[in-house]
């Protein structure tokens, strides 16, 4: 038990609403541990934040690690900047001077309240629902309506998820009212589904502009590069800050398989459009990767492209679910050449070794790119072999391929022996 190892200030200024409308205490919390019975259907956001999140705040003040915080611990073990570190930085706290920066933080009097608070969230993650044109292989029904329908059709699930909370205009208005009534909204990060085509995204942006919050709030969102909406882009241009996350796994053909059905030409064209607009409006742009066993060996091109365009690459965490897609499922002999490639690339791209915690600082984008890649190098070297999950991976891919009429061997012929040995 250690305050420095475990403390996170996030529950004092951040909360999340997930696709089903349930509240969660953190955007980085472990999926199994972050579920709350409280939702926008039965509890106001402020009530959840101020009352129901008190036990988590109390645990953190006691130096304890809530079970939902395990993913941040894993990130820090592999030298990846964790959500905890990012949230600490937002209140002025850095691990290398933990005690002194904690005591100097503008929030120290809030922390001294024993876990109670009268604050409102300043930093939101708003999951808009699972409405999505994509069906990425590592995604799930809760985040993709297309995948939900496909999973039901091929028997992976018997029921599709409950309706999105944003389908109910009354609930959307309730959230808008909460945001507008908040004094210090700094950051609103939206995910889907696919944000651009989710009606509530546009509705909320319009309401924020009407309320004048576009002058102070920064909008963050992630898009799958398979769609484009001029009307939403025009709204985004009215905000003082936009953090754009472009989801991509690889610039090789495996991306078409993993981010099905978005294909490379569409993706490149869309990246080009975003980069032009983003640079013109000085938006913060990042490539968002979700490395899996299928892509971790083919992601270097994204880092190379990002390096040349001075755009950061960021992965939220090490993929935990589905378990059979974790990069750790690759046996050591398959990791060796990936490790060698990553190491060579890092050696050829020297940067300062200072840790970049503020990953949204564009002046250190290249440093951040190398740092992110280094964390995957560390992971592949150190994470125990989970290749016993391979049969589950193969069974899953075969089910999907029966529906999609494709084959992983077309995209990853070098893994044929591996997949055959696991039942492909």
């Amino acid at each position: 038990m250690s305050l420095k190892q475990n403390f996170c200030p996030s529950p004092w200024f951040h909360m999340r609403i997930n696709n089903a409308g349930h509240y969660e205490y953190c955007r980085w919390a472990v999926k199994d541990q972050r579920y709350s019975a409280n939702s926008i259907h039965n509890t106001t956001p402020v009530e959840f934040f101020q009352q129901h999140m008190t036990p988590v705040r109390q645990q953190l003040l006691a130096g304890e690690l809530p079970p939902g915080c395990a993913e941040c611990t894993q990130m820090e073990q592999h030298g990846k900047v964790s959500g905890r570190q990012r949230q600490l930085l937002k209140v002025g706290v850095r691990l290398e001077q933990f005690e002194k920066t904690m005591a100097s933080s503008p929030w120290v009097k809030e922390f001294a309240q024993g876990g109670t608070t009268t604050q409102m969230p300043q930093d939101w993650q708003i999951d808009l629902g699972n409405y999505c044109n994509g069906a990425c292989v590592f995604c799930g029904p809760n985040s993709s309506s297309r995948l939900a329908a496909e999973f039901k059709k091929i028997g992976i699930v018997s029921e599709t998820p409950p309706p999105n909370w944003t389908d109910d205009p009354v609930l959307v208005q309730q959230l808008i009212d909460t945001l507008v009534a908040s004094d210090h909204i700094q950051y609103l990060h939206f995910i889907g589904g696919e944000t651009l085509i989710t009606p509530a995204f546009k509705i909320i942006l319009e309401a924020l502009i009407d309320a004048g919050l576009n002058r102070t709030a920064t909008i963050g969102f992630t898009t799958n590069l398979g769609v484009w909406r001029d009307d939403v882009v025009e709204l985004l241009k009215q905000f003082q800050g936009v953090n754009l996350g472009m989801s991509v796994e690889s610039f090789k053909i495996i991306n078409d398989y993993v981010r099905y059905p978005v294909c490379l030409p569409t993706m490149f064209e869309t990246i080009d459009r975003w980069l032009k607009i983003g640079k013109h409006h000085q938006w913060l742009m990042q490539f968002r990767v979700t490395p899996t066993a299928l892509t971790v060996g083919h992601m270097l091109g994204v880092y190379e492209y990002a390096w040349h365009h001075n755009v950061a690459v960021e992965s939220c965490n090490f993929l935990s679910k589905p378990e059979f897609l974790r990069p750790a499922v690759l046996p050591q002999e398959y990791r060796q050449h990936i490790v060698a490639e990553l190491q060579t690339w890092i050696d050829q791209h020297p940067v300062s070794s200072d840790v970049v915690v503020n990953t949204r600082n564009p002046t250190v984008a290249r440093q951040q790119i190398v740092q992110d890649l280094q964390s995957y190098l560390n992971y592949l070297r150190a994470e125990p072999d989970q290749s016993w999950r391979l049969p589950d991976l193969v069974q899953y891919l075969k089910q999907l391929e029966a529906s999609r009429g494709n084959s992983i061997l077309t995209y990853l012929p070098e893994y044929e022996e591996l997949f055959r040995s696991a039942g492909y």
């Binding site: 930085l89 004094d183 210090h184 503020n358």
Partner: protein, 84 residues
């Protein structure tokens, strides 16, 4: 340091070195240095690195040092609680 109560019970200060002379200041002290001095705070270089922030030959740090340093070193947002 196991918990937040331990932190509250700990007396913390800044180790300020000006031209090789070490002193201690409270965490929340406002600090002023002449720009011809060589200054470190907790082994962090302040002068000459931040000479460009000085006015009329003096660098005024008119808020708790680490809040100031967060801003000048490009650490991004520094959220503050609502006082209402």
């Amino acid at each position: 340091m196991k918990n937040f109560l331990d932190l509250q019970a700990t007396e913390l200060c800044l180790d300020v070195v000006v031209n090789g002379q070490a002193t201690k200041n409270y965490l929340y002290d406002h600090l002023t240095f002449d720009t011809d001095q060589i200054v470190t705070v907790d082994e962090i270089e302040i002068l000459p690195k931040y000479t460009y922030l000085a006015i009329n030959g003096k660098l005024h740090i008119d808020q708790p040092f680490y809040m100031w340093y967060h801003q000048v070193s490009g650490q991004g947002w520094l959220l503050k609680p609502c006082q209402g």
